[in-house]
């Protein structure tokens, strides 16, 4: 063990490193932001945190890399499993980490309803624009026209703006950040882990897949990060752009934020006094 190790490593299972992620995969950057958030909140032991994930590259972040209780579940089903955990033991903070394919495609229904219920969960959706683990097929977030193994002539479909969709539900906190917006991302994690601790808190991280998106653009992950630093702009600024300009930029920011009672508070209120 070296005298100086990366501050993220104390939250990770060192025995399984290096990670299986591709060189230059942005998953690790999201992890750094998350761990820095824990550190700045003074949380060094993750025993009261349960991580739930589905299937996909970003679902491997907690399992096995985070040193905490983790449930690596079926494709698309992280949110219901997380719901069961939280309802059975509300003392635990339950964090779902998954990708756009897992959470918004096959798991889309569960995402919608958890947001509707304002279920007391933190959901981090790492949007890499494709199905990375299975080699880059189109996903509901793939830009129109993009060439992938299942859209060899270009994607005929319009993509889904997941954060905007979830912002139209009852959720307490909905935000999107680019992976290049490290400080804003880290602060967002601090907000949902340290300040707003109830209700549905959804953070989308725009992080294109290094191997199946960035490389196809003939760029390196470092170059893409620098590009994102210029193309990710605030929500209000984006709204003010003329329509033709909007497609060149990615709107990021907080879509909605409020600290109102979550599902568990509501349920408890209805059943007070029933226990015999």
């Amino acid at each position: 063990m070296t005298k100086h190790e990366h501050p993220s490593l104390k939250y990770m299972r060192r025995e399984v490193l290096p990670t299986a992620f591709c060189p230059g995969c942005y998953n690790g950057i999201v992890m750094n932001a998350l761990f820095q958030a824990f550190e700045e909140l003074g949380i060094y032991d993750l025993r009261k945190y349960v991580f739930v994930s589905g299937i996909g590259c970003s679902s491997w972040i907690p399992s096995p890399y985070i040193k905490a209780d983790s449930l690596h579940t079926l494709h698309g089903r992280a949110i219901p499993v997380a719901t069961g955990v939280k309802l059975a033991n509300p003392e635990l903070e339950v964090i779902v980490i998954g990708g756009d394919g897992d959470l918004a495609s096959i798991g889309g229904n569960h995402l919608l309803h958890a947001a509707r219920r304002n279920m007391d969960l933190v959901v981090i959706m790492i949007n890499n624009l494709v199905y990375g683990m299975t080699r880059g097929q189109a996903a509901p977030t793939t830009p129109k026209g993009m060439v992938t193994p299942t859209t060899p002539y270009g994607n005929p479909e319009e993509p889904m703006d997941v954060a905007r969709l979830i912002a139209n539900t009852n959720a307490n906190y909905v935000a999107r950040w680019c992976v290049s917006q490290y400080l804003l991302l880290k602060n967002s994690f601090k907000k949902v882990l340290g300040e707003i601790k109830r209700g549905f808190r959804f953070i989308e991280v725009y992080a294109p897949c290094t191997t199946f998106v960035i490389r196809r653009e003939n760029k390196t992950p470092g170059q893409k990060l620098k590009e994102l630093m210029n193309t990710c702009i605030g929500l209000e600024k984006w709204e003010k752009l003329p329509a033709e300009e909007r497609t060149k930029y990615i709107p990021t920011g907080v879509f909605r934020e409020e600290d109102k009672p979550g599902f568990i508070d509501n349920y408890k209120q209805l059943i007070t006094g029933l226990k015999r």
């Binding site: 499993v81 955990v85 059975a88």
Partner: protein
Amino acid sequence: MKRMFLSGNEAVAYGAVDAGCRFYAGYPITPSSEIMHMMAKLLPEVGGVFIQAEDELAAINMIIGASWAGLKSMTATSGPGFSLMQEGIGYAVMTETPLVIVDVMRAGPATGQATKAAQGDLMQARWGRHGDQYLVVLAPESPQEAYDLIIEAFNISESLRTPVVFLMDEFIGHGREVVFRKDPGEIKLVERRRPSDHEPLFGSDDPRIPPPMPRLGEGYYVLVTGSTHNEYGYRDVHSFETHYKLVKRLKEKIWGNIDKVFKYEVIGDPGRAEKAIVCFGSTCRSAKEAVTGMDNVLLIRLITLWPLNYDLLRELLFNVRLVVVPELSLGQLIYDVRQVVDSGVKVVGVNKVGGGVPIYPSEIKKALEV
């Protein structure tokens, strides 16, 4: 003990609560919805949690999460929902998650006849998951037995760290009979074994003894995964040894405990009988009526449908020349019977399904005269 007048569905709900079930997630589906309605009412009264899920996929996954957080959990459904839950049940087998899944069978396939009894989910209850997986399947024949047996289902799920499928049909689910509900002191409950020290949580030297199960949030940092894993929960999607060892241990965990979990009822003398009936669930009610007064007929009522003690069945049927297998389906249990008798023995199915029409005692009697 309290004398009540309950439907099978209601009996299941009371039995589950008495067994210590404190979490239910479900989706409405005929003819099982009453189980959910009862749990919605009963659970908050005992400090439990109820949630109506958005679909069966959510329901099965919610109860998996709740089980890992430490609560005994259950869901109930019927054929179409049972089909949707298969992947989740397979995940529970792979991760050794104690669960109870009730299937109140109706005529299928697909939407079929929602309000009409059937027994066509037997093979699915055993084999519905992809890959090498084994679990326990139980089937009561009456609301009273539904009450007692659901408690047993929870005990088996906790002691073997496995999901248990509980098969009823619409007749039992909706039919009403006298049920004696036990007092708490009269019920023996089994809880999952908790870990001591650094025991592996997904492996054991004796496959018949399941590993201990921790509760989330107690610092075990447990790695639960549906991928193939070693005895400490670390994913291994490459080696032959890890996978083969895991699936063999999971199979032996069920089949190695067959003496503990295989339940059945015998009416008649295997030594004397030349004819036999093998049945499960509501058809046994007609079968029992059919054999009253007959002394050369053996009735074997299976309560545990999986694992199946083929050796025991073979022994019981050794003297028999004719076996009648009444089923509210086109025949699934009959394949088990054919396996355990010699080729010279006549095996006849009484098969009827649809319209809510039961198999009558007279039809079984007629089959016995063949």
